[in-house]
Point group: C2
Chain length 233, copies 2
DNA sequence: AACATTTACGTGGTTAACCAATTATTGAAA
DNA sequence: TTTCAATAATTGGTTAACCACGTAAATGTT
């Protein structure tokens, strides 16, 4: 029963097959950077899938910068060599859903850096935004309410103050999953939350004083508990 | 002339307006996590944009984990509080396209870590893959050909060996843009490329010998030239 | 023959109509 | 009044037809 699931436009399995076929096509036809791919309709016909499926696959490869669609003209191989293109598609096809440990590991890496950078680059406006987040967090904690969201928003404010748009984006992409998992594993209890108020304050002060080393140090201490907690699950 | 560009489904300006309106709606209606958003058709009607535009906006918020669409049922506010939701949408609306400096800065941060982790976690299979990439790179360089792609593939092999799927994904997303910009700014000349062969070898050896400190150190030295080059533009 | 103009077709993008599954409504039976 | 099957309305997802634009072949003009 339920055998015909394969036509959903974003069914991962089907999409991967299509991406693989596109790659093979590029190799077989010896397409160089800048060359034009066959039209979507032609590919849809050749691979025997709906055009929407082709479009979804192309969109994904476009996200990774491997293809470039130009309206009323065609889809082109990006200005990237065939070697890199093959290698990257290999990796993309192999990509797995991130595990929680990998998320936390990456978050800690990013935040030690953003704290440092924020201390170097923060504007007055950044400081205001960080302080507001801190106060919202503290207020909730003393009322005994859950404050995971406010916690994360404080950290996002730091990411923004770092002045690095790439890291800021990365933080945004991992934050929701972090929040979800925190809820699932009950990572935050009352005691830790109260401790967090002071830790946040120390980080804030270090950034305010433009002391990058101290900011990183205080962030490290802040994560100490989190680290322990996460690896004990 | 050409005044009516505002209906393109992924016109950034229009999409941001729609996202903002969705946020206001959630606040105005006091929607809690798990609550259902009005149907796409209703939103399309209310905001006076095509349904495809609504769908694109929802898809974006879904990417960041803020909404969740369930077929034949509705679109729901994710299991994340209104505070975090508001804050995150603020950030998403403010997101700017990453600049080259921010990309390089992030890449260096990530790679110092992946080198270290790879030294701790690499499998025999990882080693083979890294060695192949290294040989392909060396072969191209001694022939005097451009080897930017092979260079990056070696680094991607390290990211894969790090065993951290999140960092691996991040490396994949920034690599194409790095390659493109390298070509644009002519960051790689012959001399640097030859130097790169030995530097890559040292990194590889450190990872092979499971020496995380050395791996990080050699990666740092590898980036030294790159750093100088990038900030001199 | 050379160049300007027109025409026809192919392109990615958009959309109104459609689909299957779900949910709400109805109304007759108990 | 309660129950529960039958049905109508609503949902996100899909798709065939359509659109505006770009390209290039065809045509006309000098």
């Amino acid at each position: 029963m339920n055998v015909e699931i394969q036509n959903l436009a974003d069914n991962p399995t089907v999409q991967k097959k299509v991406i693989d076929k596109i790659r093979n096509l590029i190799n077989y036809k010896n397409l160089e950077p800048g060359d034009k791919l066959p039209s979507e309709r032609m590919l849809s016909d050749k691979f025997e899938v709906k055009r929407s499926t082709i479009r979804a696959a192309i969109q994904k490869l476009e996200f990774y910068g491997l293809l470039k669609s130009i309206p009323q003209s065609g889809t082109f191989v990006a200005n990237i060599g065939v070697v890199a293109l093959n290698g990257m598609i290999d990796e993309i096809l192999r990509l797995e859903a991130p595990d929680f440990k990998s998320l936390v590991e990456t978050r800690i890496l990013l935040e030690l850096k953003t704290a440092r950078l924020a201390a170097l680059r923060r504007t007055e406006e950044d400081l205001v935004s960080m302080k507001n987040s801190w106060e919202a967090y503290a207020a909730k904690v003393v009322k005994g309410e859950d404050a995971v969201q406010e916690d994360l928003l404080f950290h996002l404010a730091i990411a923004k103050a770092s002045g690095n748009s790439t890291m800021n984006t990365f933080m945004l992409t991992i934050t929701p999953e972090i929040i979800t998992n925190f809820g699932k594993y009950h990572v935050c209890d009352k005691e830790l939350a109260i401790l967090g108020i002071e830790e946040h304050r120390l980080i804030y002060e270090a950034i305010k004083d433009k002391n990058p080393q101290l900011a990183k140090q205080k962030m490290k201490e802040h994560f100490k508990e989190l680290y322990k907690y996460c690896y004990n699950i």
